[in-house]
Amino acid sequence: MLYWEKEIETLDRTSLERLQVERLKKTISQACGSDYYGKQYKSKNITPEKINSIKHIQDLPFTTKEDLRSHFPWGFLSIPKKDVVRLHSSSGTTGNPTVIFHNRHDLSSWANLMARSLFTAGVRDTDVFQNIAGYGLFTGGLGFQYGIERLGCLSIPAGAGNSLRQIKLMRDYGTTVAHAIPSYLGRLFDVFKEEGLDPKKDTQLRKLVIGAEPHTEEHRRRIEEMFGVKAYNSFGLSEMNGPGVAFECEEQNGLHIWEDAYIVEIIDPKTFEPVHEGEIGELVMTTLDREAMPLIRYRTRDLTRFLPGTCSCGITHRRIDRIAGRSDDMFILKGCNIFPMQVEGILMKLPEVGEDYRIILEKIGDQDEMIIEVEVKKEWFRGDVNFLDRLQKQIERLIRDEVLVRPIIKLVEFGSIPKSDGKAVRVIDRRN
């Protein structure tokens, strides 16, 4: 078993926790250099000396996205501005964006975590790695880029979109590994087919890396079938750098989250207490190796759980389950809490149904309704009304059994659901 950094990846839990405590003390000290934490910790009398065990993290207040937004732009900066070498920012179409600052050390640490993550998934410096992600403020582009280079692969900074060009790059340079968001890969596969090509035969792909949006296990398997290779789940968020926070190893059974770089807690978002072992809750994270802008007990709004036990790969850093959804993805219809991933899980089990779907919430008459637009794959269209009718009713039934609300299923023409090069928009709420 090969490791990128054997010592740290296989460190026993006790030593790992001791390392975390040491780094947390340093982080608190560093964070006090910011307006936000400086003021808050002073008023609450929080000092590094008060931290002597990992449990003491629970005495620290949470940091939320609203805190980041309301102290935009410099409130969380903990070093002199002249030492900042990069910022990444969210799109922030409503209200203030969130911005994360990095100094040289932060970028190097991030690159290392990314390289470690890719190595864990079996990527090697002999790989030709095509990064099909937006370059710019979106961390998927540069985040992967620096990690790919640190690992030593031949990087192709392809950027997002333009499927014909992506295919040409793969064939010209013999791409062996590609990174893309899952909702894009379905489309890329369609373009392969339209060109009379099969990625299984006409490329040298041996691995895929997917992430940046929640997706179900069924969706991942579809992608693996389409491309004939394993697709490894990658997790990250820009507040915690970007990609490289957690990654699947070759077991593909949970994502190892790097506990030398982060303190990871899972809490009940209503009571703020840690959940019981193995329960789903909100992921709360604390940076342990960020200098420009440390974040302490940041509420990510991503929902997941720890997977119990140790992984046979030998990495001692715990695994989290694939993200079940964001706590703010959830919508309520007729009194029921529904996550888009619940709908996706059902749709992706049906081979007739395409990967693109849309949930539209609308008031029809005096009732709130959930309309799910579903594309029927071309190969499954046989010109038989009964077949389509049965399919529609089957989907209706399966979804109703899962979310306890009867949806209206709308079969739409293949390719008609609007797509973006970025993360797929799955829910449109028109109820207001």
């Binding site: 046989r382 010109g383 038989d384 023409e413």
Partner: protein, 145 residues
């Protein structure tokens, strides 16, 4: 073996015209058509055209879902009772069909009754055994000799 082109369409303004403009550009003639519709906002358009293979391919290229379905085009007299008689023969042949549509023939005396036989096993054989005349492909497609 003759084919109709079955096309999945959403019930929206302009969608049917998307199909006809593809056919027009390729100089493909529609010989017979049937449009059905469901309460859910979509339907299936069935077309007998002069070149179903080409039509299907061109429509697919435009992103439109199509299927080629086998048809049997039966000749009948264009007179009151013509279809009634024909249906008796089809029933005698033991053929139960779900979709059919017709058109008058060019000779002013006969008509063509198009049966969808895609999901009916041994349909052609049964119809022939019952003495029914299945029109040749080129007559169905209107291709001049």
């Amino acid at each position: 073996m003759a084919y109709q082109v079955s096309i999945f369409l959403e019930n929206k303004i302009g969608h049917l015209k998307q199909v006809t403009s593809v056919l027009k550009a390729a100089d493909i003639n529609i010989r017979s058509m049937h449009l059905n519709h469901t309460a859910s906002g979509w339907g299936i358009l069935n077309l007998v055209v002069s070149d179903p293979i080409k039509a299907s391919r061109l429509l697919n290229d435009k992103g439109i879902s199509t299927a080629l379905r086998k048809i049997a085009a039966l000749k009948m007299v264009d007179q009151p009772g013509g279809l009634d008689y024909l249906l008796g023969s089809i029933a005698d042949a033991g053929v139960n069909f779900i979709n059919a549509y017709g058109r008058v023939a060019n000779d002013e005396k006969s008509a063509i009754f198009v049966l969808d036989i895609e999901d009916i096993p041994d349909a052609e054989m049964k119809l022939k055994q019952a003495g029914l005349e299945i029109l040749s492909d080129h007559l169905v497609y209107g291709i001049k000799e």
